[in-house]
Amino acid sequence: MTKTLRNALLGAAFGLALAAGPAGAATIKVGVVAPFSGPFGVVGKSFKEAIEVYQAEHGKTVGNDTVEFVYKDLDQANPAQSKALSQELIVKEKVSFLAGYFFTPDALAVAPLIDEANIPCVIFNAATSAITEKSPRYVRTSFTLWQNTVPLAEHMAKQGIRKAVSAVSDYGPGIDGEAAFKTTFEKNGGAVVDSIRMPLKSADFAPFMQRIKDSGAEAVYAFLPAGPATLAFAKAFNDTGLRAAGIKFFGPGDLTQEPDLPALGDAATGITTSFNYSRAHDSAMNKAFVARHKEMFGSYDTVTFTSVGAYDGTHVIYQMIKNAGGGRIDGAKAVESVKGMSWESPRGPLTIDPDSRHVTQTIYLRTVEKVDGKLENVEKQSFPKQPDYGYKLAK
């Protein structure tokens, strides 16, 4: 077989596979790339569980088509590997959708692929604002640092706080958070007296605590990736007496994500965060969601923000399949069909913003409290209809 002939055959086969879509009952595959092993393995687990909960509630078929999820493990931020796995999903598994993506670089890596293959990519987490600008086929059902930080900074200013300091991990999302905080807080009359960027691999946070103390700020805005760093930071905040000195602790809700709360223990109580989802959100839909999760997996310990990111992402994918009406999935058209779509989610009302293709949602102000012997993020206040303030803001 000559190479040209072989390529032609392959191309034809691929074309046929695509064209075969509408004819009767077909299987529509969704490829999910997420960490299932490694330090962030719990993320992939929560994605998978949420998808299974959604399928248990809404069935595995849309019209005549069966929806099947294919999972790929990407244990850490590794964009080259992310691209290879996504390519395999498209070429080998013939998926009609890509989904998942926990880290920003992993999501960015697939932009050329989804454009060439004309496949929609529904991001369940990766939170840097700039991602959805890179391809018109991205849709995101999570949050951005800007989205969470703007209402929080406004709230802090309203509380009468005039001097604040920001302390963020020195990487993309942290820097996003720092910029969002500084812009908003200063616009509302406050002053950011120090902007501390902490190396991602820091183990000891005592020096930063000393710096926060010395800055004379009344409050600190902190952002670190969830996990050991957050725990060490919150502990240091308590142990070095900053809390006792009356300095107020604010941050996006990644800091107090539900699976970490038991380990944070009493160090976490009283921390005020802003976020798009709390497991303790008081709505019938959320209670049903958590209950079904417990029923299916024995416990709801892993239910957190990544769960609703995946749950709502799955909903958007189902809607795109519905909108295609049994026809084959055309990426550009599918994304077009969900622009402006509104629905009720366990976290509250959601709308896909037609420009940014990111969800406009309610951001809640929460405080960590003990509920029935279990630490939860208890919602105190809500800021409805928050868009992604960071869209098209960066250069």
Partner: protein, 289 residues
């Protein structure tokens, strides 16, 4: 002046924690010539045992600490017989690296399977919470406790290696195994005992350091560079060297992070390169203690 004092206190406190979690590696690496990359995994096992003993079995902190050290030593002794014994000797460096990485992977997977991926904690007794005042500077009581424990470990190890029969035999066996064996020193037992000492110290560090380096399955891999840095700077096998190195690195890291936090990561590694450039064998070379 107050700032300098604050940096010094925080630096010493951090350095002592670094010392206590790294000194076990200095023992295995310096005295047994084994590049034991599973050191972090042993520390983690100790931490998990203590966490389980304190949280699920309800033991008090001190008892949990003792149980953790004892169980970790017991659990790892068979490894010496089955695995480590085959790779002693400096000609086997690559085999040691590969084998101990493999062992680390297995332990990480095992811990992940048994305890799940979420963070675990070792609850502190009332006595060790809160802060103590050191002039103008307040440090967490727990850290003050670790500084004391570190100093005690330092002295205890010095006594053990320099002043006891065990220490003399061990140093003889390290310097010239063939001659030591000819003189009737039972090197096999000696190595087993030293290995137990190394893993016991690892477990102790894992428990005491858990406030700073939180327990989760990837602990074993996440902090191994930190441990290796302390041992390399201190000079493998030197107890005082490890202490000096840990304090120096602790202070440099603290000062860098306080003064120029945005470039905090650079200080640690630039200091590492400069020190190793000046003292390629670490601060204290070749001495057992």
């Amino acid at each position: 002046m107050e700032t300098m004092f604050g940096i010094a206190v925080d630096g010493v406190a951090y350095g002592m924690i670094l010392f206590i979690i790294s000194v076990g590696l200095s023992v295995t690496l310096g005295l047994m010539r084994v590049v034991n990359l599973a050191h972090g995994a042993f520390a983690m096992v100790g931490g998990y045992v203590a966490s389980y003993a304190a949280q699920n079995a309800g033991l008090p902190y001190g008892l949990a600490l003792v149980v953790a050290v004892a169980l970790t030593v017991l659990a790892t002794l068979p490894l010496e017989r089955l695995l480590y014994r085959r790779i002693y000797g400096s000609a086997n460096e690559l085999a040691q690296v590969l084998l101990t990485i493999g062992l680390t992977f297995v332990i990480v997977a095992g811990i992940n399977y048994l305890f799940g991926p979420t963070l675990k904690r070792i609850p502190l007794p009332e006595m060790l919470t809160g802060t103590v005042e050191l002039g103008p500077k307040a440090i967490p009581t727990h850290r003050a406790f670790v500084i004391g424990a570190g100093a005690a470990t330092l002295l205890g190890l010095w006594w053990l290696l320099e002043r006891t029969d065990f220490g003399i035999r061990l140093r003889a066996a390290v310097d010239d195994p063939a001659m030591a064996a000819a003189l009737g020193i039972r090197t096999e037992r000696l190595y087993l005992a030293t290995f137990a000492l190394g893993t016991g110290l690892a477990a102790l560090g894992g428990v005491l350091g858990a406030e700073l380096l939180p327990l989760e399955p990837y602990y074993a891999i996440r902090y191994i560079v930190l441990f290796l840095a302390v041992v390399a700077v201190g000079g493998a096998g030197s107890i005082f060297g490890s202490a000096a190195a840990a304090l120096a690195l602790g202070i440099v890291d603290t000062a860098g992070k306080y003064l120029i936090p945005n470039f905090g990561e650079f200080f640690f590694y630039v200091a590492l390169i400069l020190i190793l450039f000046r003292w390629p064998h670490g601060f204290f070379k070749g001495r057992a203690a």
